[in-house]
Symmetry: D2
Subunit: 291 residues, 4 copies
């Protein structure tokens, strides 16, 4: 399939590489050109603008930092919307707001272009290995057409509904389950340390109990108190918590746990932790306990 | 080994049965006698009081509802403390307060009796199958002596420290990680429902993401909105959250997430959910979202 | 002074009436015309659009529900921005977001028009009596020019700074102090009732202790459990809490108390209390206590 | 009236002095004798134990730090319970737990002694000036008998009910309204500072709006960032928040705002603020905002 891929950060570069390796013709674009050039060895073609990446493509992925960066790439000067053919599909895999997803769906529809939200779960290593979890939403016919692409980038695909924003809501809810684990571990480890009990014992029991790689990985980071380099920066985690709070506020559902975590993340940001891994949220609980 | 076992509820009966089946001589006592009689088929002997169960035993387990019930069985009329031999060990497997564990340690020490806190993780099925997780704390020499018993009742044993209360702290911290999952799922499912998105999609993604039986089991209960019969009653979960808050308060560590959950559990109790499974906490998030 | 006044709800009509009564030439506009006509008896002139109200005025007030309504009246078809003379001043007295206040300041500056944010504290009775508290921010020279108008509508004026949005931040922070009182009273009254103690006793003590009309008025409403008709609707209170949370989030200050209240207000909204007085927030605490 | 007075700290010494000045025969006792000796100039007699202070008295006040200190003075060696005549009244004015108040009532009843809980609102200056607010509960006949004493120490007396603990519940609920103000001011001032707005402006507006000495006094302390010497130590404030949480937990009423404040107070304690005024709680909000 002829594809465009816009946004080649930690996540996007692995996804684009896998698509190219699977035999698709992938034209890539990235704000800083050297990251795009690195993809040519995998067979990708270089575009000089999002529009050029979208030109002639059956589907074009965006994998960018946030709503703002996506807006630039789609609607800005030489944005993809100006070049995407009628009938072709824009697949937004970034974690964007439900509100912006609705805007994208509406703007693409006006131009007879297809639109799918297809955010992913997984860290850069999973992106590189083609082992992401893909949550997609939008018109069934569109999903069916690009399903083989999801099979390339991920190990499982979940269909969240017929309206694209539904996938974005599922994604930010899923992220909340992860940061909730981090906050929980941060609090209990601080309590144990303050009491003079070794947190590693609880960690071992938790690993047996929950049997979850999420607990295991984040727990190990917190026990070691090692948060750099960041796999996922705390400031990006804060962005995602803001997104879930905003979506819940719009529909009228209280999220007290997300509110609490939002406030702890702000305290972490004020404490200079924005570029550390979001697991460093645990340092706030530790500070509040005086350990 | 000659053993006593006091408290034959959902958890204790499975534990005592496994100890008897492993060839130990187990004398059992329970407040309501018929539960004790049910154990005779497994080879257990019946005692007419905690003291009688402790008489001559090398170790005696207590597996009772709370501090109060344990206090009765230990220090009450015909309590085990009056009969336990010097050098024999009281193993308290109930979820009791760290403060009461210190009291037990001190009182037994005065009488040259040994004392271990050995709370367990796992539901009744795990107790029946001998697959509990045992967290034990106390003098190493005592732990070494009864370690074979833990191998009978559990699939793994974790040593939390040399002071018995440390195991109790690890236990209530571990329970907090479970109820935090329930609160998280309750909030995100309520948000999804209010938005018109099917929670099952997130559940599928979460199961792939976290790969944890805890998420899987509780998530399924919440998606089905089925909380009876209770595997673990909400009022007992509230007791455990109180214990972790109390222990953290004593050492001066704030637990904002536990505070939030405590308040949600009280609202659930006021809503008549005390005897439902503690997963029904999710109903409070649903009510607050109006779904 | 020749003035325009846009927005004649519970608050605006009292303010406009007082300005006319003080001898100013006031041209008024309101979306529903009958409210504007009611002002003619006080000497006000009728305009058929915001632009007409602004035409030739030295200053024009807006007193509208929110950002959206203000945007319509300022930038919409026949909006005031198209008619306001260079050098004339737009005074926005509504509770609007700090972000929108910055937008207004910037847009007016482009047109050489002056802009002040001048939100007010006080209920409709205070507006009618010219006893509001005015918080104003913007260029000192502009404030000096319209200070006499604030003396007409209010009993005291506070200058929050040289940038208009600063007044809006002070306003939403001030509102948070009021809703925090309501939440506090709701919680303690629910506790007293659940315990079988008459809340009126605490109310009497609080009135002596705090000596504040805010406690007195809201406390009386909560003790009587009477929340209709609304003096200030809960859904508007929720809007204001959202504004303070947004402003704090932008600058990176956590507001855990506002987060908690936001979530309680959402639960109240889901419970059908949107059009009741915001003091009805207390009903959520009562429900959670089961009283 | 022949009186005993036990506990001559900042509050008790002013109360005892006023009772003596009003013509009552007051026998005083304090753990550190010099504070008791200071009262002799006001006509007080010295006792060498709580029992001696209670001997022959018609009523004996206790004004001590907490449950523990009160328990010592009442039930300890030479405690007042051993000497108080049948028919005489113990008036506990300390802020004690509702649970301990029930214990006191029951123990005194066994001995045909009267018991009233009569906690007070007010700072040391109010105690010295006889301007406290007294909240009393217990048998009406007893209250009637000692009402003239309350008129000496206070400017108003509120009757909370027929069971003594009811006064203690009203007291801790009242204290929650004060610390809630402190938390609110701390959060909004931190937000203003982080935004570059002078908090004094909001303080002026709040003083006009709320017209409350509580806002005024604590607001001034927070604006000046001056928390020593402590009028009321943060660690004592934490004790009171624990009491209200415990009482609410016992009756099954959630107090999310008190939970939040409890956790902030613990963070303040871990930050070394235990002996500062409880208004220093505001420093936690400031730290979390990075100002």
């Amino acid at each position: 399939m002829k594809l465009g891929f816009i946004g080649l950060g930690h996540m996007g570069s692995g996804m684009a590489r896998n698509l190219a390796a699977a035999g698709h013709e992938v034209t890539v674009w990235n704000r800083s050109r050297e990251k795009a050039e690195a993809l040519t060895s995998a067979g990708a073609l270089l575009a000089s603008s999002p529009a050029e990446a979208a030109q002639g493509a059956e589907a074009v992925f965006t994998m960018l930092a946030d709503d703002h960066a996506t807006e630039d790439a789609v609607f800005g000067a030489k944005g993809l919307v100006s070049a995407l053919h009628a009938g072709a599909i824009h697949i937004a895999s970034s974690t964007i707001s439900t509100e912006f997803a609705r805007h994208l769906a509406s703007e693409h529809a006006k131009r007879k272009q297809g639109y799918l939200s297809a955010p992913v779960f997984g860290r850069p290593e999973a992106a590189a290995a083609g082992k992401l979890l893909v949550v997609v939403a939008g018109a069934k016919e569109l999903i069916d057409r690009v399903k083989p692409l999801f099979d390339v980038i991920g190990r499982a695909t979940f269909i969240a509904g017929a309206e694209p924003w539904q996938a974005n809501l599922v994604k930010v809810c899923g992220n909340l389950t992860i940061i909730a684990i981090i906050e929980t571990l941060g609090e209990v480890f601080a309590t144990l340390k303050k009491s003079g009990v070794e947190p590693g014992v609880l960690m071992d029991a938790i690993n047996e109990l929950h049997g979850s790689p999420v607990y295991k990985n984040y727990g190990a980071m917190i026990v070691r108190n090692q948060f750099e380099p960041a796999g996922f920066a705390l400031k990006l985690g804060l962005k995602d918590v803001r997104l879930v709070l905003k979506a819940a506020d719009e529909c009228g559902a209280p999220l007290p746990l997300a509110s609490l975590i939002h406030d702890q993340l702000l305290a972490a940001l004020a404490n200079g932790q924005g570029d550390k891994d979001w697991a460093s949220l645990a340092q706030i609980a530790a500070r509040n306990a005086g350990v």
